[in-house]
C-alpha cells in the first residue's frame, strides 16, 4: 500500500486538537509546556466541557497560555492564580476552573495562595509545571532547584547550607485535608505522556464530582536554561529530578498512598 493511500481523512488517528489555536507556541524547542498544554486541551475536548471551562494563566513562560488555548482564560498577577480561581469558582460553581502555573509562580511568590486554596479545599484543578528553575527571566534559582544544581544565580551549584533545601510542594499540599487528588507526572516519554493525560482527566473528574482540590504536578525540563539539548535535558531530568521528585500518584480519593 502506498503512503498516499494511507494519508486520507478516514485513516487519521492523531492530530493536534482544535482547542489549541494555530499560533506557534513561544516555548523553546523541546519544552514540556507544549505537551502539557495539548494534554489539557485534549482532556477538555474529550470531556466536552469547552464552553464550561475557565483557565487561569500565570506569570512565567506560560503567561501567553491564553493565546494558545482556545477556551475562556483569565490572567492573574504573579502567584495569585489560585486566588483568582477561587473567586471564579465561587461565582460559577458549575464551571470547570483550572490554573496552570510554573514553579516560580506556584512554589515561590504564590506559596500562600496555593497552600490556603488547597487547605480550604476549593473545588478547582491546579496544573503545576516544575522545571526547577525560573525559566522566563533567565534561569535563576527557584525554590525547587535541586541541591548542587547550577543556575544563573547559583553558578557553583545550590549550596543547601546557605540557600536551603528545595521544596516538595506537591507532598506538602497532599498533607492538607482539602486536597482530594494529588499526583506527580512527567511528559518526556510516550508512556509518561499517556499517564499524565490520565492524571489530568482524573483531576477534572474530581472537580466534576465536587470532591475538593485536584493538583497535578508535571516535572518538566528547561533545556535552554539547563544549557543542554532537549534529549540531554530529558536524560538529566530522569537521572536527577526523578530521585528527588518521584513520579506517581500521591493522594487518591482523599487518602495518602505514598509518603516520602
Amino acid at each position: 500500500m502506498e503512503i498516499k493511500d494511507i494519508i486520507k481523512e478516514e485513516n487519521l488517528v492523531y492530530s493536534k486538537t482544535k482547542l489549541l489555536t494555530d499560533t506557534t507556541l513561544t516555548y523553546c524547542p523541546g519544552c514540556g509546556h507544549g505537551v502539557a498544554h495539548r494534554l489539557l486541551m485534549e482532556v477538555i475536548e474529550e470531556m466536552n466541557i469547552r464552553e464550561d471551562t475557565i483557565g487561569i494563566s500565570p506569570v512565567g513562560c506560560s503567561v501567553f497560555a491564553y493565546d494558545f488555548m482556545d477556551i475562556d482564560m483569565a490572567q492573574a498577577a504573579h502567584g495569585r492564580a489560585p486566588a483568582v480561581a477561587t473567586g471564579i469558582k465561587r461565582c460559577w460553581p458549575d464551571k470547570f476552573v483550572f490554573t496552570y502555573q510554573g514553579d516560580g509562580d506556584l512554589a515561590a511568590i504564590g506559596t500562600a495562595e496555593t497552600i490556603h486554596a488547597c487547605n480550604r479545599g476549593e473545588n478547582f484543578t491546579i496544573i503545576f509545571i516544575n522545571n526547577g528553575i525560573y525559566g522566563m527571566t533567565g534561569g535563576q534559582m527557584a525554590p525547587t532547584t535541586l541541591p548542587g544544581m547550577k543556575s544563573s544565580t547559583t553558578p557553583f551549584g545550590r549550596d543547601v547550607s546557605l540557600m536551603g533545601n528545595p521544596i516538595k510542594i506537591t507532598e506538602l499540599v497532599a498533607q492538607l485535608p482539602g486536597t482530594y487528588f494529588v499526583s506527580r507526572q512527567a511528559v518526556h516519554k510516550p508512556a509518561n505522556v499517556r499517564k499524565a493525560k490520565k492524571a489530568i482527566r482524573t483531576a477534572f473528574e474530581v472537580q466534576q464530582q465536587k470532591k475538593g482540590l485536584s493538583f497535578v504536578e508535571i516535572v518538566s525540563n528547561c533545556n535552554s536554561n539547563w544549557k543542554m539539548t532537549p534529549i540531554q535535558s530529558n536524560q538529566w531530568m530522569e537521572e536527577n529530578m526523578f530521585p528527588y521528585y518521584p513520579i506517581g500518584d500521591i493522594k487518591i480519593e482523599g487518602k495518602l498512598i505514598k509518603t516520602n
Partner: protein, 77 residues
C-alpha cells in the same frame, strides 16, 4: 494476516527541530532534514516512511503538535 501500516505528516514550518520524535519512534522512521525551515531549524521528516506503524508515539511527545498520524489495517497474504 492483518498488518498495521501507518503514515505521518509533519508540518515542517512549525517544527522546531527538538528531535524528541526521533528518539520516541520505535521503528526509526523519523530523521532530521539537512535543510532548514523558515525559522532556521532543521526540521523532522519521514526518512524511512515504509517502517511506520502509526503508533502515535512521535505525535504525542511533540511539544508543538506538528505531527499528524494516519493508520490502516492491511491484509497480507
Amino acid at each position: 494476516m492483518a498488518k498495521v501500516k501507518g503514515a505521518i505528516i509533519i508540518d515542517k514550518e512549525k517544527c522546531k527541530g527538538c528531535e524528541l520524535c526521533v528518539v520516541a519512534c520505535p521503528t526509526n522512521v523519523i530523521g532530521m532534514a539537512p535543510d532548514v525551515n523558515g525559522k532556521g531549524y532543521h526540521f523532522a521528516y519521514a526518512i524511512n516512511p515504509e517502517s511506520c506503524t502509526g503508533c502515535e508515539n512521535c505525535a504525542i511527545v511533540c511539544p508543538d503538535g506538528v505531527i499528524s498520524v494516519y493508520r490502516v489495517k492491511v491484509t497480507v497474504e
